[in-house]
């Protein structure tokens, strides 16, 4: 009996310890994630301008109705979708290719891995500033255009032409980000037992067949995870267009997060910006759920 009581005493102290250990994190998560999220939805139902905070009026779904007819919003949505749809496959394929190049042990492998990972050692702001200079449309000052003209091509107005601006940001982002995903793929590749390859090469399978029938299926979980994190990050695009193009030319690089910033922080339309943020939130969560479901069913 005394033993039983001691046990329950231990359980009790464990329960107390559990609440003591979890409450700081949970309280902070509620205060700075859950509460602001609820307020985003709440403010989105109000006419709320930063200059007149006292004149906050309930507006129902007016902000959402306005959103529906706002060409700039659709443009931002389209730009974000375009960036995501292109950058995710490009960056993931590039990362997987790089990982395959350096997955085996050979002399100098560490140096090559570091080279491919190199762009990750600088921040997105640094990369954006650097590439804004590299992309300069004058071949005498822009490195990339000087290479192009050297090869006999016409110089390109990378960031000042609305047709090429977003693609230029995509190319740069894939270059910067691929090293990170490469590291994840590398770990995945190293988890594939080498006996699988040995058996199949005795059977005379080609490298391509090995890649299609051994490497890719074994990497399924890793690929899914990499696509997921790349996609969520892509949908949040802001820093690159802010530093490089200010959303231009002609809003060609204005993204959803950029539009939240423009409406909320530059124009002060807090209520309206919260409606954009709410739509953005729903899209991000929905996309992650769809991707999760889609890949789980396979």
């Amino acid at each position: 009996m005394s033993n039983e009581r001691r046990l329950s005493g231990r359980q009790k102290s464990e329960r107390l310890a559990a609440y003591a250990f979890t409450s700081p994190a949970i309280i902070l998560l509620i205060a700075f994630l859950v509460v602001p999220m609820c307020y985003t939805l709440y403010y989105s139902l109000f006419k709320y301008h930063i200059i007149r905070p006292d004149d906050m009026r309930f507006a129902g779904l007016d902000n959402y109705a306005k959103l529906f007819h706002d060409g700039n919003f659709w443009k931002a949505l389209k730009n974000t979708a375009y960036f995501t749809v292109i950058v995710v496959p490009v960056q993931c394929a590039l990362a997987l290719g790089l990982a395959l190049l350096v997955s085996k042990r050979f002399k100098g492998v560490a140096a090559f891995r570091t080279m491919y990972f190199g762009p990750q050692l600088t921040s997105m702001v640094v990369i954006s500033v650097l590439w804004a200079v590299l992309y300069n449309s004058n071949p005498n000052t822009g490195l990339i255009n000087s290479v192009l003209t050297g090869l006999g091509m016409e110089p390109v107005n990378f960031l000042t032409n609305e047709k090429t601006a977003m693609n230029s940001i995509i190319f740069m982002s894939a270059w910067q980000g691929a090293g990170y995903q490469m590291m994840i793929f590398l770990a995945g590749l190293q988890g594939i037992p080498s006996s699988l390859y040995e058996a199949s090469s005795i059977d005379g399978a080609s490298k391509l067949k090995q890649f299609l029938y051994i490497t890719l299926p074994s990497l399924k979980g890793t690929v899914k995870y990499v696509i997921m994190i790349t996609m969520i990050q892509a949908m949040k695009l802001f820093t690159q267009p802010y530093v490089m193009t200010q959303g231009g030319p002609k809003n060609a690089t204005k993204t959803m997060v950029y539009y939240i910033y423009t409406q909320g922080f530059q124009k002060g339309n807090f209520g309206y910006a919260c409606a954009i943020a709410a739509v953005f939130f729903v899209i991000v969560v929905a996309m992650s759920l769809i991707l999760q479901k889609f890949t789980n069913e396979e």
Binding site: P24, L29, P36, Y43, L101, T239
Partner: protein
């Protein structure tokens, strides 16, 4: 005889093609690797050249090499940006975040992994669900919260909202789930209570996970741009990324000095990478295996 000779020929040609394959493999890696780092090499090279020279020789390989390297651009950067202050601001807020991050999230992850209590499963799914929540969707109310608390332009605005991190909790949770229960039972038989067991026995054997979370979050915050940009509006409270960005858009625009500023801002990351490479790479890699 004949067949033997044929076998030899085949063997040597096989070796030849193997050698060629190896050569192509190296050549490919070197070319791709150089293309990959060439923008960074150009950045460093330009930072060491006088402004008048950085766009000379653009058509030749010489653009990647500083001929008469000088540190003048770096002096200009330190003259025009109060770097000591910028570094102090940045390291202070990141240091504070990391200090609290490592404590708060590790105890939470430990309790979720090792204690049995009511609400444990609920809390686990709560943490997992919040992981997909995009910060960008709640910047406006968070900003208003900061303004109401009077935290705009203070370090508190950069630190306090970002201490609890679902991802860190998950990393700790995963690691602590692997700690054998026998170890904890032995400690409790010796009379240690659950809290002191954690601090005296579990923490000292968990240096890897602390190092991993430390380096991942250090890098993430060193790159912080959008939130500091919104809440730190004063020149005195600027963090490193804000300083770099505003240097780029403030006249006089000296490209060579801008490149020097970019290099300076990357140095702490490179130092961190050199010393903590193992944990950093492992942290990135392990996040994928779990997912």
């Amino acid at each position: 005889m004949k067949s033997e000779k044929g076998g030899k020929d085949m063997k040597s040609s096989l070796q030849g093609s193997k050698r060629l394959g190896k050569f192509l493999f190296y050549a490919g890696n070197i070319v791709i690797g150089l293309i990959f780092v060439s923008p960074l090499i150009w950045m460093i090279s330009a930072s060491l050249k006088p402004e008048a020279k950085i766009f000379a020789n653009m058509n030749s390989i010489a653009t990647f090499f500083p001929v008469d390297p000088s540190l003048d651009n770096y002096f200009e950067v330190f003259r025009r940006i109060n770097m000591a202050n910028v570094f102090k601001n940045t390291l202070l807020y990141i240091g504070l975040i990391l200090l609290f991050d490592l404590i708060v999230n590790s105890i939470c992850g430990y309790a979720l992994a090792k204690f049995s209590f009511k609400g444990r499963r609920l809390m686990l799914s709560f943490v997992a669900a919040l992981m997909v929540l995009p910060m960008e969707a709640l910047l406006l109310p968070l900003y208003i919260e900061m303004a109401q608390l009077g935290w705009v332009n203070t370090t508190r605005a950069l630190v306090i909202p970002f201490i609890a991190k679902c991802f860190s909790i998950y990393m700790f949770y995963n690691f602590f789930s692997g700690v054998p229960n026998e170890l904890l039972e032995a400690a409790s038989i010796d009379g240690a209570n659950p809290i002191s067991t954690f601090f005296k026995i579990v923490m000292p054997i968990s240096k890897t996970v602390y190092a991993t979370v430390f380096i991942l979050d250090f890098v993430a915050h060193w790159n912080d741009f959008m939130w500091p940009f919104l809440v730190m509006t004063g020149a005195e409270t600027r963090t490193i990324q804000l300083a770099v960005q505003s240097f780029f858009s403030t006249s006089p625009v000296h490209y060579s000095a801008i490149m020097a500023a970019l290099v300076v801002s990357a140095i702490p990351m490179i130092v961190m990478f050199v010393f903590m490479q193992k944990y950093y790479v492992e942290g990135i890699a392990s996040s994928g295996i779990k997912g």
